[in-house]
Symmetry: C2
Subunit: 733 residues, 2 copies
């Protein structure tokens, strides 16, 4: 970064004075380049603010922001101003003049409509109403000056970040007219972080929250975390694991949570905590945690009051109840609405909400696991308080490389619903595989539920436009940890970024998001942007191919979920692989048609029929919904077995192609990140082949068919692969 910057300095010197001794300067320049190589460790994320590469454009920018009118007299506005200063100085190589005045001068004028007459004159009441409290307007006005405005300080902060992103992407400011506001309200990261700093399903080191040193020590990283989130509109963070620990609700920890909340507040980020349903028993020896017991209700009301005494803008609770061993209302024969409403009543006086997870299933229920959440929640549709929002995973199973959309989307019409996407790659290669997840998120959001006829997409079902919910949101299970580059894989940053962008606007396209991210994170050079965009856009399908083609699912290794484990059997059935693929010598797949578990019946028509008919079911969901004979002919004309083999092999070839593609890009990226990604792509290619070989050898024991020509033959044996037992895996404690 410094090299570019200095190169720009050189240019200025030369242009203005043409007298500096070039050779000496160049030597320093080279020296700086060498030294600066150290800093490209990915820590800066998409906030790198690299110097503008187009020198003419940089000059134009400089003129356009030469003087800035911005009265920053609150923590939020100070944060915005500080970001603007840092960003512009790094990108433009000069420091604009800041006027702390309220007249209407300045090339760039930033404020609420009431702050500047010129802003009021150049914005309409209606558009200001439309952007509500978090939106913003960026506009070039008649005299060619620029304005950034909003109804709130947080909106101004978001506007400043967007403005900086426009410059980062080297887009023209002339004619600028951006009116944007978020389409969902609660845009939140879920950190599955434990109090001992391990992170469930975390593959980027350990928890950022250094509970031991909090509240006294404020790691500067907390601020950078807030900056990164605010820059993409994320406005909430649930700090703790959904497999919850009641201790977080005790004063010792609330003081620490308060310290984090104080850091995040100026950035518009509220903190949320996971509430362990049995906390009244564990912390205060109440005999029960029955949500209808007045003592229990009172306990939670007092606890809420206590929390709000530390954190007046506490966001609320995230709850995993009656699932995977977590306590919940079922223990007292109460339903989920009764459980959620009790907590909702406790936080309602303070404006808090309850995010209640729909990820509920029970091994003792003799029903297809993918059907259980729907069965559980549909009967209580309409029974939840207004400040409850149901948090539903994108698919009905569990964050697989591919799942059909969850039937609760478009199913529950009278309940607030927010999707839960997984950013951390639990079933998707951990942090060592490059898998750009925006296409997965987009696929879900653009799925048509047909609830109110064609076009009833999941996006519309969750942003309030289809059912008119008053409370909307989107949750992403964080992939962030203490790794210097935050996400382990440098490209994992793109998934954090994409989640934030889609939470803000669920209608954005994966390509656009990738384009933004690449330009801000690496370079605007087409020779880099184009191949990397292609790598990213295809990477999810690549992972599906080498892991779970044709609708296969849940065939990962047991427990830690790293690598193939189609042979996993013998524990509780819904945690095995064989429960899901059901391979025999005749056929493979899970029959979820009306003749089988009838999971398709949870979808509206014509979706149910389309999924339920082997002829019309999209082949990417084939084995999800159907049992299919090994010699069944697919649209390609291949038998199922051959097609499966081809897909696995294709996945490996595509991983290899990514690797080869990256290897050509050394000139466009700093050495440290180049090498790091290179090593990871090597791992990915190796592991893609591991997936292919292990799965084909295993499924071949059922199909009894030869591996077709054109597919690389496994060198190792099935026994070898079944003998692999990886220990001490990250994210699995």
């Amino acid at each position: 970064m410094f090299c570019f910057f200095l190169l720009n300095q050189k240019t200025i010197f030369v242009n203005n004075y043409k007298i500096c001794y070039m050779k000496t300067f160049f030597l320093f320049f080279l020296l700086f380049c060498t030294l600066s190589a150290f800093s490209e460790d990915g820590y800066d994320l998409w906030l790198r603010y690299a110097p503008v590469e187009n020198v003419n454009l940089q000059k134009t920018y400089r003129n356009q922001v030469k003087s800035i009118a911005f009265n920053a007299n609150t923590p939020t506005l100070e944060a915005a101003k500080s970001e603007l200063k840092t960003g512009l100085s790094k990108m433009l190589g000069f420091q604009p003049e800041f006027a702390e005045i309220t007249n209407n001068t300045g090339n760039l004028i930033i404020g609420l409509p009431d702050n500047f007459e010129v802003i009021k004159e150049n914005t309409g009441t209606e558009e200001l109403n439309d952007i509500s409290r978090e939106g913003f307007i960026l506009r070039q006005i008649e005299n060619n000056n620029l304005i950034i405005t909003s109804n709130t300080e947080i909106g101004l902060l978001y506007g400043v970040f967007r403005f900086l992103q426009i410059v980062q992407q080297e887009l023209p400011l002339s004619g600028l007219n951006v009116v944007d506001s978020p389409k969902t309200q609660v845009r939140i990261l879920n950190h599955w972080d434990n109090l001992n700093r391990t992170v469930e399903r975390g593959y980027a080191g350990f928890s950022l929250w250094d509970w031991f040193r909090l509240p006294d020590v404020i790691d500067p990283r907390y601020i950078d975390y807030a900056r990164a989130n605010a820059s993409i509109g994320i406005n909430g963070t649930a700090l703790t694991n959904v497999n919850a620990n009641a201790q977080i609700l005790t004063p010792v920890y609330l003081e620490k949570v308060k310290a984090l909340a104080d850091v995040f507040r100026p950035y518009g980020i509220k903190v949320y905590l996971t509430a362990r349903f049995s906390a009244p028993i564990e912390l205060d020896n109440l005999p029960v945690a029955d949500p209808l017991d007045p003592l229990v209700q009172e306990w939670w009301k007092k606890k809420a009051a206590e929390i709000y005494s530390y954190i007046p803008d506490f966001g609320g609770f995230l709850v995993k109840a009656d699932s995977e061993g977590q306590p919940g209302p079922h223990n007292y024969n109460r339903n989920h609405a009764e459980g959620a409403n009790m907590l909702a009543d406790a936080v309602a006086p303070y404006g808090g909400i309850v995010m209640w997870r729909a990820f509920v299933y029970d091994q003792h229920v003799p029903e297809d696991r993918t059907k259980q959440a729907y069965n559980e929640f549909m009967p209580v549709d309409g029974e939840f308080r207004e400040n409850v929002i149901l948090q539903v995973k994108n698919g009905p199973l569990d964050f697989q490389p591919r799942e059909p959309f969850h039937p609760l989307f478009g199913g529950m019409e009278k309940t607030n619903i927010m999707p839960e996407f997984q950013i951390t790659q639990e079933y998707l290669g951990f942090s060592t595989h490059l898998v750009y997840l925006a296409p997965l998120y987009e696929e879900c959001l653009q799925s048509d539920t047909w609830t109110k006829g064609e076009g009833s997409t999941v996006a519309k079902a969750i942003d309030g436009s289809l059912f008119g919910q008053k409370l909307t949101g989107m949750a992403g299970v964080s992939n962030i940890g203490t790794d210097r580059n935050w996400t382990g894989h440098p490209f994992g940053q793109a998934n954090w970024y994409a989640f934030g962008r889609l939470a803000w606007n669920p209608y954005l396209g994966s390509r656009k998001i990738a384009d933004e991210w690449i330009k801000m994170t690496f370079t605007k050079n087409h020779a880099f942007v184009e191949p990397v965009t292609e790598m990213m856009l295809t990477s999810r399908e690549t992972a599906v191919n080498y892991m779970t083609p044709l609708g296969l699912h849940h065939i990962m290794a047991a427990g830690h979920h790293h690598g193939p484990g189609p042979w996993v059997d013998g524990r509780r059935p819904d945690w095995t692989a064989v429960y899901y693929h059901r391979a025999t010598s005749e056929e493979i797949g899970f029959d979820r048609t009306p003749g089988g578990s009838n999971a398709v019946g949870q979808y509206h028509q014509p979706v149910a029929d389309k999924f339920g008919n082997i002829e019309t079911c999209p082949e990417e969901y084939l084995l999800w919904f159907h049992r299919v004979p090994w010699d069944y002919r697919l649209k390609s004309g291949n038998t199922l077995w051959d097609e499966m083999a081809f897909r696995y092999n294709q996945g490996v070839n595509e991983a290899l192609a990514m690797q080869e593609s990256w290897n050509l890009l050394a000139d466009y990226v700093d050495g440290q990140r180049f090498k790091y990604v290179q090593s990871l792509l090597e791992i990915q290619t190796k592991e893609a082949a591991w997936w292919r070989d292990a799965c084909l050898l295993y499924f071949q024991t059922f199909s009894n068919m030869p591996i077709p020509d054109g597919v690389e033959k496994p060198v190792k044996t099935l026994e070898y692969f079944m003998g692999i037992n990886e220990l001490y895996m990250p994210g699995h404690h």
Copy 2:
């Protein structure tokens, strides 16, 4: 750092051309300063290479190293050259010319005596013999040129590091004549790192070793780890916890260990592993792990061969056996020599060694715990193989704030012995207390064992000069983790540094080491160096005062050892506090005189008598060796109770004084490190008061005497302090 550097550039421009537009330049300069503030996070350790502050001296240095003759054609020499380039360019603001030639030109000539005639002419055979294989000579020769030479490449690397340190400290190169070599052979860090990346007694994040991504991904941090260690002469690293996991000896992990060994090798650092004594049973189902069983011996020989096939220069094993639940030779009625020798025979063909820990005690042995190691090992003195070295903790208990030296030093005359110091602050406030440990190490090393009359110091007993051991060394239990600043507390870096310097030369003084470290880590400015040196030098005594004055020991909270727990009782006695302080309403202390456990009998005369007599026993060991009535008059004239209260109070006042002292130093240190240390000193002061109040209230229940005037009266109650139950503490998993 960058600001200074650019300031230097400015100077050059002005001097040489006097034409650059100062205002513009200064603006950039300020801009860089702002930006560079980000980087002062402590990651650079004592290798910051800040620009030379004395401008005249900088000019002199530039002339002295204008051209450098250094043929770097091996990984070690390339590492040395790269360090030299980075260091000199950062400190001097220019890049010397490097000549890749073998003639004798160059202001600075670096090579083996055979490489350059001029080196051979200016060094003597005897001095070259004396420095053996790791020493070096730095010398200004007659024509004022400088030479760096050694018998080996590693010696050259060490010489280059020392040269850079001299420049960092802004010491003159004129008249330079340093002939130095290490006084011990194995200078090794012990990492108590588990395979899941938790670190036993680690307070600086988690393990640096990212086993999951190894061997493919080489974190650049591994290289910086090696650089830091090599810069102070550390030449070994035991990667894994002494509470050992046999899995590290399997091929999957050995491949990963090999990757680390490959990174460390150019820096002269060998890797060692902890060997779990029962590994043959656990890994290959042998029926026993009996060291005299030929099958077991054969297993270890094969295992050694396998390890050396991955890592030809593998250092050897570190073993904790028959202690705290670890398996060992006792399980088979064999002694420690028999256990150690079996492993030693396995690695001997490859030049490997075995470090066998003497930290052995057994709750079922009805003997003062501090006596057990001596009792166990003295009978087998002389029975260990030549490639075994006994690793003995500095004191006979367990890394307390203060202990008398271990009687095995000066006790075992026919066995190789290396001291084990703890760098991580298990019993010393974790990474939140500033406690400079060099005085603790020095106190031990300078203790006089009297084995061969006066002057038989521990230092001489372990460096071979007293007993002529062929194998010598020093081990430090690492305080390093994934925290960005490596050690959690910025001043924890000083303890790593001090350990390395003392392992190289056990006769160095704490003040000199502090002086070096401060100048390289912060600044050469006297206004900073002086008060900080004083803070550091007094900090250990301060910690003793507020934790365990007058010979108190092992009164920390149970398990995690954070904070006071003098009331701890009721588990196995040797893990309680009451076992050690034995307070009653009459007296307090552990009687280790001949009338008591007679631990003093393990020391030579006159040490035994001195310790054993309450009148001559140094007061800092008083309650370690004696039971003392509460009204006993100390040398101060105070009763024991009053003195104890004064010492506790003094500790708190001293902590407060450190805090106040630091608060005056904001101008001399970057904002990030200043604030971080400031927050930590706040914690330390708070916790010092916690220690004082809790201990005085507790011991008062025995003494029944009033807290004397001048000592702050506790506000909280003993019950409050006894009710504190800290959960999820770092380092305790």
